[in-house]
Symmetry: C2
Subunit: 360 residues, 2 copies
Amino acid sequence: MESLRVELGSRSYPIHIGAGIVDRVPLYEAVLGRGTAAIVTNDVVAPLYLARVQKALEAAGARVVPVVVPDGEQAKSWPTLDRVFEELLAARCGRDSVLVALGGGVVGDLAGFAAAVYQRGVPFIQVPTTLLAQVDSSVGGKTAINHERGKNMIGAFHQPRAVISDVRTLDTLPQRELKAGLAEVIKHGLALDRAFTEWLEENMERLLQREPVALGYAIRRCCELKAAVVAEDERESGVRALLNFGHTFGHAIEAGAGYGRWLHGEAVAAGMVMAAELSQRVGLLDKGDVTRVRSLIGRAGLPTAGPPIPAEHLVELMAVDKKAARGELRFVLLQGVGKSSLRGGIGAPLIHEAIVAAVQ
Amino acid sequence: MESLRVELGSRSYPIHIGAGIVDRVPLYEAVLGRGTAAIVTNDVVAPLYLARVQKALEAAGARVVPVVVPDGEQAKSWPTLDRVFEELLAARCGRDSVLVALGGGVVGDLAGFAAAVYQRGVPFIQVPTTLLAQVDSSVGGKTAINHERGKNMIGAFHQPRAVISDVRTLDTLPQRELKAGLAEVIKHGLALDRAFTEWLEENMERLLQREPVALGYAIRRCCELKAAVVAEDERESGVRALLNFGHTFGHAIEAGAGYGRWLHGEAVAAGMVMAAELSQRVGLLDKGDVTRVRSLIGRAGLPTAGPPIPAEHLVELMAVDKKAARGELRFVLLQGVGKSSLRGGIGAPLIHEAIVAAVQ
């Protein structure tokens, strides 16, 4: 097992990465209070890991309340969140309770936001069981639910007390979800780290084959990159925005296709190609690098173009995206592989062109 | 105009108290960003003050989006909160927006919580227009909505950037609401400040007559007391809990009567009598002081007993109250007038007795 640390003063916390650690009692013991541990998970993950995590929490001295929600992006919504509150209140979980988010990005975002606002805030532990959650969404304290008018519109910054990433839980991950997680891995490389991008270009096949050593390295490197960014800019007033590379387009793709039709990682993959095309059109990136971005994403088995939605409609969907300020859209653009910056003031025609170019 | 300050490091903020300051432009200018100012108010306050505040915000350079919700405690609920989000998103309010809570405690709690979670958090300004909000709820950053199973169950600590308390807005306050506000004034005295309690005993008639000097003094003294407590214990892990004097009983009264039937201050008034009776029963307070508490509350025209609900039912309702931890109820009890402490481990029979005693 390896442990990194997200440095945030009194809110610092460890990220543990290892094989078979999902039920390691001391990792939970270190964080639990006197109260109840409520495990929030979904109906796909529950049969696989709920019993083991419950046993570990009980061994650590907690009363355990399991809350099982439906699988899928639809669960990032008010009705599901309200059901979590209902079950916590019915089980008389007090302010000294700890929530445990056991599952992928949806469960992490939902349970994390529940923890942020239940009785004005209780601690929580992230136990990510998908590649996407292990490399990205479980780290950094962004929590949210979706609103009909846009993704992640209602949420909070609420840091976990610990992240427990068991790479063995990826054994049960469907291949489509593994690939979706690779999109966020690629994002870390393209936006922040040229050397890591080169490593990905050389090792993509090993990752798709789920070689444990390769997966372990990719997870650790993403967590290192993300921990450094979050430590510098917890609330995304600066450098943290670079982790949204591909996401402005990606969120519009998810909304346009209907939440849940496209996996988040798939939408981000196509969104990164669009962002690269846009970067080239504003003169920041040369054509060779656009091809390189497209090729890496394609080799991960990910889409390099959006769904059949008119480009005008995607532009409209982006306008209300949370990165929109006074109607001006801002994009994370590449200035080369591994280097990015946030840009505003880009005209609709160029954005439109970039979307269309991604299809070709 | 007088200005106090709540000292919370980088989250410190001023409380301005004065006559006719609700539309004083520089007070808003000091806080607004580049974005939109969304005024959240209710349909009773809007006809009285919305136009003036809107004009001041526009003079301060903001685009203004008014959001008018229904009056009453029922508005502290998910459906109303969702409507606020809907209107903010429809008006394309970005992350650089500022919310302005114009109204009483319900509007402040609702708009404050909306600000806490809209796009993971935007700043907000409290412009309280009721006595209860001016002396208590607008200060300290507690925000929340209610859940069917309990009051303030879903919320956040989110400090405002400024509090603008115009005592002239109390001119339009119904007498019943003025009295409800006096309950929280009395609470500050009984729980924290013997001298202020004595002042209240001497000046209650002046407050009921709305003498501006008396009201101004009471508001300032409550804000001073509360600002000191919040600066010491923002998240209520210690001394801040003393401000819940009367509230454990009070919340149960509100829930038992049906939200909105009893005003919050009325329920707290009866709750303070019950808490005093309980204090006497555990040997902390002598009978003379119980009589003194009851008399002061009665002289403010406030109820000294709860609604006709069986005491057993009130005890049951308290069990899920947010102060409940592992099933143990805790109460703020008086050890004399102006001195209080938090106590647990009190048996149901004594609690039951205190409720019944309040009726007599």
